[in-house]
Amino acid sequence: MSDLQHIRNFSIIAHIDHGKSTLADRFIQHCGGLSDREMDEQVLDSMDIERERGITIKAQSVTLDYKAKDGQTYQLNFIDTPGHVDFSYEVSRSLSACEGALLVVDAGQGVEAQSVANCYTAIEQGLEVLPILNKMDLPQADPDRVKQEIEEIIGIDANEACPVSAKSGMGIEDALEYLVENIPPPEGDRDAPLQALIIDSWFDNYLGVVSLVRVTQGTLNKRDKIMAKSTGKVHQVDSVGIFTPKRLEKPSLAAGEVGFVVAGIKDIHGAPVGDTLVHANQQEVPALPGFQQVKPQVYAGIFTISSDDYEDFRDALGKLTLNDASLFYEPETSDALGFGFRCGFLGMLHMEIIQERLEREYDLDLITTAPTVIYEVVTKLGDTLRVDNPSALPDSGEIDEMREPIARCNILVPQDYLGNVITLCVEKRGVQKDMQFLGSQVSVVYDIPMAEVVLDFFDRLKSVSRGYASLDYSFERFESASLQKMDVLINGEKVDALAVIVHRDQVQYRGRALTEKMKELIPRQMFDVAIQAAVGSKIVARQTVKALRKNVTAKCYGGDVTRKKKLLEKQKAGKKRMKQVGRVEIPQSAFLAVLKVDG
């Protein structure tokens, strides 16, 4: 057990691609946490999807012993944080377990909004934020400009910012020294009653729920009886320990330390992120502030293409929720798609990741319907309903008022692209709340309907600013709006799974764009396929996928049909990934056409 003076708890705040994982790898390597042979690139991002997308979804930690130049050995606890706007609550919990944070900024690209938002969270929580300039080996590195940006935008002194190149290994030891000198050691009375923050929890097939915790006071020992404050349930601790990054059991974790605890908890909801652990016989110890039940922001229906896969799908969702407390699901039935689940997600990235994991890890062929936000509907009878599915919207005659969620969007953009960004925000029904010029960048704040934000706002923002603008958003309030349900009809039949809720002013444009996109995505069939968008009984747009005139292999040389056969078999397998609605075969992508409509 290290004494408090020799512990440093920190996390790294960085925009995607600014080099957080590479820097963490270098720290591990430098402190000998893993041998070179064990040193798989970016060890902390353990899911395949995390590695492929270069983002962190789950928080993880690593405890390293660093022998500093003063001759002392320090225990460094690095708490990795998720790096995407969808996971900002998890970020705030990770940060609250630290005394300091390294702000890693790409010395060529400068500060981006995601980092700014996380930095503010860190500063609000009293963390010491230390700027690190990464990618100093690249020719476009401009440390002076970036230092100035850090000072202007974030408002911290960047004079001492530590220049490194995580890729080449340059400046790694300096960064570690900088960290030990400037991040304060943790405080906490080790003799006081136990109080520990759950930073993250995940499900392990052998151990059950494993929680990453920061002990704020007291000591957590093996065989202690503990209680999670939000659930009130008592569990006996099976083991505690640290990640080096390998799991290493210890007899106890004391105030100031970060490590794991396994306590025979079978359900991830039994150890929610942000909750407080106390000893069962000291239940009066208060909960740490900031705990929230996570709420999905985006909802979509997910259905299996083949109804035979329904049971497997249900099991797979059950398994995923073991590990993901923010994934919500309940059964949904669609006339067009059959039995499936209405799923709630933190955001679009979360949704994509879940669909990808279901398809990849559980080998399911799925159709996801257009994502929607939650609307508040006040009926003529005075009831307020929360609607997360367009097809569940009451008839327009029964609706007195509809309210849509509004997101507060903090956007950071270089001056050159400000005009484009404002045009985009206006197009997305945004209302400007604030604008500040900070050096060469501009910080603009807009209130934009959440439905517009989750759709394609982030992608559009990137494209109108050549990738330079960045975004952070959060739910602000519900607001009355003129909204309508737009139905989509395929060959005259309403397809419930294709319905979307749109603003009255956008009905024409959305209807046209959606039907045009669907025309591109639905392959030609043996007959004409009519695609119509309608509000009530009024058709607002129509497109036709003309029938194929023939589909026949001209030359089938009788001696060798093998290759032609393989080709047809492959086409057939591709078709199996389409959903038959009436006589029409509709590919997966068409159900998400609304997301692919160009602006």
């Binding site: 043996m526 194929l548 005139r549 026949v552 049909v561 078999e569 057939k572 397998a573």
Partner: protein
Amino acid sequence: MDSLPLGLYVHLPWCERKCPYCDFNSHETAQIPEQGYISQLLKDLEREAAALGDREVSTLFIGGGTPSLFSGEAITALMGGIAARLPLAATLEATMEANPGSAEADKFAAFHAAGVNRLSIGVQSFQDAQLQALGRVHDSDSAHRAIDAAKAAGFTRFNIDLMHGLPEQNDNQAKQDLHTAMELGAPHISWYQLTLEPNTVFYTSPPALPDENLLADIQDVGEALLAEGGYQQYEVSAYGRVGDRCKHNINYWSFGDYIGIGAGAHGKLTSHDGGVRRYSKTRKPDDYLSDSGFKRVGEKVLNAAELPGEFMMNALRLNTGFEIADFTARTGLEWSAVAETVEQQIARGLLEQSGNTIRASAVGRRFLDTLIAEFLVEP
């Protein structure tokens, strides 16, 4: 199965120049090792014949490549060698593929004398611009001369191979080619739509082809024109009166048996217990020419799941379709293996049944790949 008709396919794998659309097993060469290859073919045949007992061969097809690059002497030796090793039907149809170049046409008489009684002439188009676009070595004049030479050599049965849907072709040009072939009195016309096949020059750098609508228009006007001229369509791309049709190809399409000899040749044989076996020969001419290079490779017995698909891929190409009894005889499967799918496709309008005959409907012929896919298993 002794009762099944038996064909013999002989592959001669060389060409003067490889065409950019061709995915067949053909190789450019300056010098063909004629004697060595013929003697290897006959060794190959001997080995195949040993397993066949006294089954009579009713059709022979010499394909390529460009078989007409071989000399009259070589073809004479080949034909003699075949006759010495296998019982041939008195009514043997012996087809050979020929290129309409002048050097080839000079040899037609020798081929006829050797016992070849049907020529399939790879004209492709009678328009020079289009022949050039296709990378063909001949021009329209030499095509005309080759057809004259075939007639003069005594070939009463011959086929003109034509392609349509050629780069920048319109429907009039396609019609013009058909007109010319009919005027020249071709007893049989094979009329294929150009398809871009993987592993060809056209596949990697595709030419500008007519759009889907124009292709369908060309198909419509061409079919009508051929029918007017008395050329009955009997397969997706084959046209001719009953006596003029290619028996060898009909045997493929009726899921009959055939031996394949030569580099890259394919064979299919049904054994006494009803098992259907496919095999091929090594593709590269040099490998085939090595000591035991003629041995079968990639031999496999088709399983019950893939037999219906293989059968339908062939049988439904024929306008006459097939008899239910032929399905059970040639696949060794019960009719129940496909009965449900057949019923569904009849209901869908892609198949039709009269008595015990099943065939693709007019719509089914247009959407034959869609129809056949229903009988295939996924990989």
